[in-house]
């Protein structure tokens, strides 16, 4: 069964010949953007599409999504698909509890198979300091109702018998963390958003944002200009570039993170496995591939998404050390994607100071995918009249200028 493609709704639309006739999710490449929009979302990644879907579902009309390239071209199509609740700050733990619930319902709510599988997350510690870090997080996670527990190394073998325990001194395990297949997640949001009337334009870069006298912006693209009452910057690692068009400084920067995939194997690995010492992580997709990465040092700002042998060699060395049985499996391909790194590890949300119609949805530091379901829902609720969730108050761009970010804890569990 291919992810993302067939579902019951599709089958019901098959004609007599059995051929499936469906409307296109995306606008044709020759079409013009509409002259007016209530909200123009720039960026066809998971954050932008989730916001678009929830806005339209809540009845907002005239929403457009403008994507520079193709859907999932950025980090949304390049990540490992991990969805976890093992975080170090209460707000991230609680948000991720809600995101996991939305992922559980995604196939039913969005009508697409995203291969979501709750096999848990197993974090491995190689020294007492790492154990203490996990224990501190677990205490907080347990208070929030997440059933993470500390395991003796031998107990980790009950979950992953293939582990080599040499050097492992402890592990944390939460059985309700999971993984999904990122691509169909975007197609699901895109298709349902389109069904609610959102117009999604790919190959449509934004070249200019011209403030209008009464508020809002004329958004210039090669397919014409759209007069949008509000603009949402959901460009991920490219967010600073869009913000620059109106002179707003977004202090995030792109960091390359590499990842790779193996040949498919018979399913054997249930959880996502990660070790703190190296940032190594790997999981087995529903296609049977082992997908994973490792943290190389260096956080230089770059949009270079090339691949390196250093990454592949480091990943192989750490993975074979941790799971020697994997030595004979073959790597099929490697690629890279950009983290949108924020100075304090927390996202940047809400209107830019002095620009009340220009909203930010960026700075997710490599975990935007797993946050997108709940952030998209909360953002849409806020923009359609609900009281803003606490996350928006503490995530404003202004915190970097006025120091208000200091009162909130920094998330320090960005692994991988």
């Amino acid at each position: 069964m291919q992810a993302g493609i067939e579902d019951e709704e599709d089958e019901s639309r098959a004609d007599a010949s059995g051929e499936i006739k469906l409307p296109a999710t995306l606008e044709g490449l020759l079409g013009r953007v509409p002259e007016q929009a209530e909200i123009a979302i720039v960026g066809g990644g998971v954050i932008g599409l989730a916001i678009a879907y929830y806005l339209a579902k809540r009845g907002l009309e005239n929403v457009v999504v403008l994507e520079r390239g193709y859907l999932a071209e950025g980090a949304s199509g390049r990540n490992g698909g991990g969805v976890r609740q093992q975080w170090s700050t209460e707000i991230n733990i609680r948000l991720m509890q809600e995101s996991v619930e939305l992922c559980r319902r995604f196939a039913v709510d969005l009508g697409v198979n995203v291969w979501f599988r709750q096999g848990g997350y197993l974090f491995l510690a190689r020294n007492a300091k790492e154990v203490a870090r996990l224990e501190k997080n677990i205490a907080l996670q347990n208070r929030c109702g997440v059933a993470t527990r500390m395991l003796e190394p031998k107990k980790a073998l009950d979950i992953v018998p293939e582990l080599d325990l040499a050097g492992i001194v402890g592990a944390s395990y939460n059985p309700s963390d999971g993984i999904l297949f990122p691509w169909p997640f975007l197609w699901g949001y895109a298709r349902q958003a389109a069904a609610y009337g959102v117009r999604i334009f790919t190959q449509t870069p934004v070249g200019g944002l011209e403030p209008m006298a009464g508020g809002g912006y004329v958004v210039h693209t090669p397919r014409g200009a759209v007069r949008a009452r509000r603009v949402i910057n959901a460009c991920g690692a490219w967010s600073p570039k869009l913000a620059e068009l109106i002179g707003v400084q977004v202090p995030t920067w792109p960091i390359r993170h590499e990842i790779c995939s193996s040949e498919p194997l018979k399913p054997f690995l249930r959880p996502m496995v990660s070790e703190l010492a190296s940032g190594l992580y790997c999981s087995q997709s529903m296609r049977g591939e082992i997908v994973g990465g490792v943290s190389l040092p260096g956080h230089a700002s770059t949009y270079n998404m090339g691949s390196t042998l250093e990454f592949l060699a480091t990943y192989a060395r750490r993975l074979v050390k941790l799971m020697p049985v994997l030595g004979d499996i073959k790597i099929l391909r490697q690629w890279a994607g950009p983290y949108d790194q924020s100075p304090d590890g927390n996202p940047i949300l809400g209107p830019a100071p002095g620009h009340p119609d220009f909203f930010l949805a960026c700075g997710f530091v490599g975990h935007g995918f797993m946050m997108a379901p709940i952030i998209g829902k909360l953002y849409a609720e806020w923009l359609t009249g609900e009281q803003p969730h606490e996350i928006f108050g503490r995530s404003s761009l202004a915190r970097f200028a006025d120091g208000s970010g200091a009162q909130h804890e920094k998330e320090d569990f960005n692994i991988g």
């Binding site: 291919q2 493609i5 469906l22 606008e27 050097g167 691949s307 060395r317 391909r333």
Partner: protein, 101 residues
């Protein structure tokens, strides 16, 4: 037997799958790769890329020369982890001592 013409043998992607992808608006070759999974198996597109590109050109009424290949990904051929693990260029983390492994 339309619909059973296999274009990508590694991932069992048929001509009908490619047509379906285009009908939904996913018509860039990078999008078709992701939507159908073609070119993501052991051959990494070496057998199927030109075949799919040609059919995509036909379906979307483009000149085949206007369709670039999708980004090719290292390694050149499927490579065992244990060989890569011996590469001297691997980064050593603080918990690794010089010379082990």
């Amino acid at each position: 037997m339309p619909g059973k013409i296999v274009l990508c043998r590694c991932e069992d992607v048929t001509l009908a799958d490619v047509e379906h992808s285009v009908s939904r608006g996913y018509r860039d070759i990078e999008e078709v790769k992701r939507y159908t999974g073609f070119g993501t198996g052991p051959c990494q597109g070496k057998e199927c890329l030109a075949v799919v590109a040609l059919q995509l050109a036909r379906i979307t009424q483009q000149d085949p020369g206007a369709i670039p290949p999708f980004t090719s990904r290292p390694p050149l051929a499927p490579t065992p982890l244990k060989l890569l693990a011996r590469d001297p260029g691997a980064h050593r983390f603080p918990d690794e001592t010089e010379g082990d492994g």
